[in-house]
Chain length 454, copies 2
């Protein structure tokens, strides 16, 4: 059968065959294997290889494939490879690309190289590039392609059918032809399935969907992604403030935005950049991660300086020192649950002015209830372990305070950061941990000092 | 202009209008507002409302819209609403649904209700439902719709065009007609753009893409999502082991899988279920979160029992107690960075047999280098703060050990869990924190006991 499939096992197999061929220096064979692979699969192999293998593979990839492979790569690796390429090779690679990818490559170049590459391009590519660069990268304008097929409302379907047959092909992933007036104002859209199923004598005006929703060119790309997800769109037209059609956004580019946003949240919460390259060089990774560690060091020193306030108590009661890590730990976990929930809610567009107060109340209540539950259990556990009910009561009380605060802080911190236009995924976790560490230690050591030290 | 747009601000506005109308008891007005909204927007409003408001809104939604709204909801809320519905209302709601959503609803019913609902259905819906239930939910079979349009290879394009015009419409999001032989074996596909642009006298055999990749019905849904992302597909055919066409998967359903997988990873790492409902009832949320807190309590007690081993040291040196939280904290952050990177790499299909050893080596090296860097800095900071270089050296040494272990554990734990077929996003974080806490405390208190206690 002609229908073939590349699943993960086959990727793994192919990867090991490539590695074997590379290892034994059979470069001609490798080049042949690469020629038979789709650009997306080559990109996967590059992403999955250590630096040295990558270098060799990159040399062996056919010039014709360079552009397409670049399109499929993650940002860190893409930037790194672009920096190595000559202006001529870049210009040639850029020739076949979509407008948005073209803009990406040009944007990532240093100024001098940028001009060189632009000059090496054909005039058509150059004007496409200049068009694409007119909009910020993380906006609808940066995401759109300008290859729309437009039609007029006052012709019949058979005219359109003849025109398309003459045209010979449609731009990739075209599912809608856009109806515009003489000034390019968007009037509606005609799904191409409609063209196939309706009577050819029908006028376009009757076929078209005039309630088509359009995206303003300035909309943020994450908001575009939310709209696509919510409405199950495959493509959407992009308009300027006067309603003129500028281009279209297709779902495949939106999927990349969804993936990037999700990676950004998940990696950001762990204190990483979403572009961090899994198989990148050791030194670069070490440096990239140190920023977060610096911040954490200050947070940890802050927590230690809280303990320092209670040196006296710690000197007299070693047991307090032994138990003091439990309270911050439970508060941290409880707060982090709330934080993750609220960050996701913000990302999905579920949380706004009208319901954030309710949410704060709910998370405060959960924090308090969980605090009650766990402080009783811990109180009991410590009583059994250390044989002193006072110690259990102390740790229980501190935990109740800390978990209640954790619930409130876990919801309030991301909401506050969002208002300040700081990314909650990046700053939220560290701020929260600092709060739960400081409050947890303060509550436990403070209570211990009050009740044990007479 | 006819072209309208619903962005986040307008959602917010509509939400507050709805709330106002609800608050003043204008239910007829609310019902009218809901009737004018798209199902996806109603779902958004439901997701964003507290429990009581939800109940009222749900009563006011038109019967006709029920099914579509259910399709768009998150799992926790969907399950809750389904449990309240009568079998008749469920059967009616199910009538208009896609096969995959139909299967979802039926699967979530208790056995007795399930049979009742199935009996209330029309025979066509019932057979569709039974077909859909034949495959596990998280497989290509569970994701596919069976509404494919198939054609034969031996006719000309104009026959197809006439057939489609007679048909009058195409299933939603159809971008490809599938070419099958008499036994339903998939031979290839014809993009509908091709139908519009090519000469009507061309035979289908010449038009069709015979290299079409097809998805086996048993493939896991996450793997399906990877393939769609990698190849920028809009739809793909699903086949059984003999190559027979069973249905098709469309990108809008895949986007849901991508979103669910991403949520699962992010929420899982924070110890939450991805279905956790942001505006759900307090008590249910409290209970749902307590599992993770239980595990964390054991981890924290384990860490405390490590400190307990060194009670003697802690009794003599309060400073050690004050500083002892720093080492686990830095190890935890460093390990968590590696963990997030490796979990993402696994999710993207970048990490396999051939490169995991390299990755372990890399993360070990980064852990060691970061350990060197931070232990020197901390050593210096503590020397300055406490005026004792021995103390600085102790904490620095412990931190070097802990961060190196953290790098190794952060990479090894998810790889190991993956081998054991345990979800690294769920279990990874807690295991890692336990390792870095225990090793961190053991290293610091152990070194302190060795060198300070004579």
């Amino acid at each position: 059968m002609a229908v073939e499939l590349l699943d993960n096992e086959q990727t793994e197999l192919r990867l090991s065959q490539l590695n074997q061929a590379l290892g034994s220096g059979m470069f001609v064979h490798v080049r042949q294997m690469l020629l038979n692979m789709a650009a997306s699969d080559i990109a996967l192999v590059l992403e999955s290889s250590p630096p040295r293998t990558r270098q060799i593979l990159w040399q062996l990839i056919d010039q014709e494939q360079t552009g397409e492979v670049l399109e499929e790569l993650g940002e860190e690796l893409k930037d790194q490879l672009i920096r190595q390429m000559s202006p001529e090779r870049l210009a040639r690679a850029a020739a076949g690309l979509d407008t948005d990818d073209l803009a990406y490559i040009l944007r990532s170049l240093p100024d001098s190289l940028y001009k060189q590459v632009l000059q090496s391009m054909g005039s058509q590519d150059r004007s496409r590039a200049e068009q694409a660069l007119a909009y910020p990268e993380e906006s609808a304008g940066g995401l759109m392609n300008t290859d729309t097929v437009t039609i007029r409302p006052d012709v019949n379907l058979d005219v359109i059918l003849r025109y398309l047959r003459q045209r010979g092909s449609l731009p990739e992933a075209t599912d809608t032809l856009y109806v515009v007036d003489r000034r390019d104002i968007l009037l509606g859209g005609v799904n191409i399935a409609t063209l196939l199923t309706r009577d050819p004598s029908t006028p376009v005006r009757e076929l078209m969907d005039a309630d088509l929703e359009a995206i303003p060119v300035t909309m943020a790309d994450s908001e575009v992604a939310q709209l696509f997800e919510r409405h199950d769109w495959l493509s959407a037209p992009v308009i300027d403030q006067d309603g003129r059609l500028l281009g279209r956004i297709t779902i495949d580019d939106v999927v990349d935005v969804i993936r990037e946003d999700a990676d950004h949240t998940m990696m950001g919460m762990a204190g990483m950049d979403e572009d961090e390259d899994t198989f990148g060089p050791v030194l670069r990774s070490t440096l990239r991660r140190s920023m977060w560690l610096t911040i954490n060091l200050f947070a940890a020193l802050l927590a230690a300086s809280v303990s320092n306030l209670f040196e006296n108590t710690l000197e007299q009661f070693a047991t307090i020192a032994i138990l003091m890590t439990i309270v911050p730990s439970m508060g941290g976990v409880a707060g982090n649950q709330t934080l993750a929930l609220v960050i996701r809610g913000i990302a999905l567009g579920h949380i706004g002015q009208s319901n954030s107060r309710w949410l704060l109340g709910k998370e405060l209540a959960i924090g308090f209830l969980n605090g009650l539950l766990w402080s009783s259990l811990v109180c009991l556990a410590i009583w059994v372990w250390k044989g002193e009910w006072q110690l259990g009561a102390l740790i229980g009380g501190a935990m109740l305070i800390n978990m209640t605060v954790a619930g409130l802080a876990g919801a309030a911190i991301p909401l506050l950061l969002k208002k300040l236009k700081v990314d909650p995924a990046l700053a939220g976790g560290m701020l929260l941990t600092t709060v739960t560490d400081v409050i947890g230690l303060f509550a436990f050591l403070g209570l211990a000092t009050l009740f044990l030290l007479r």
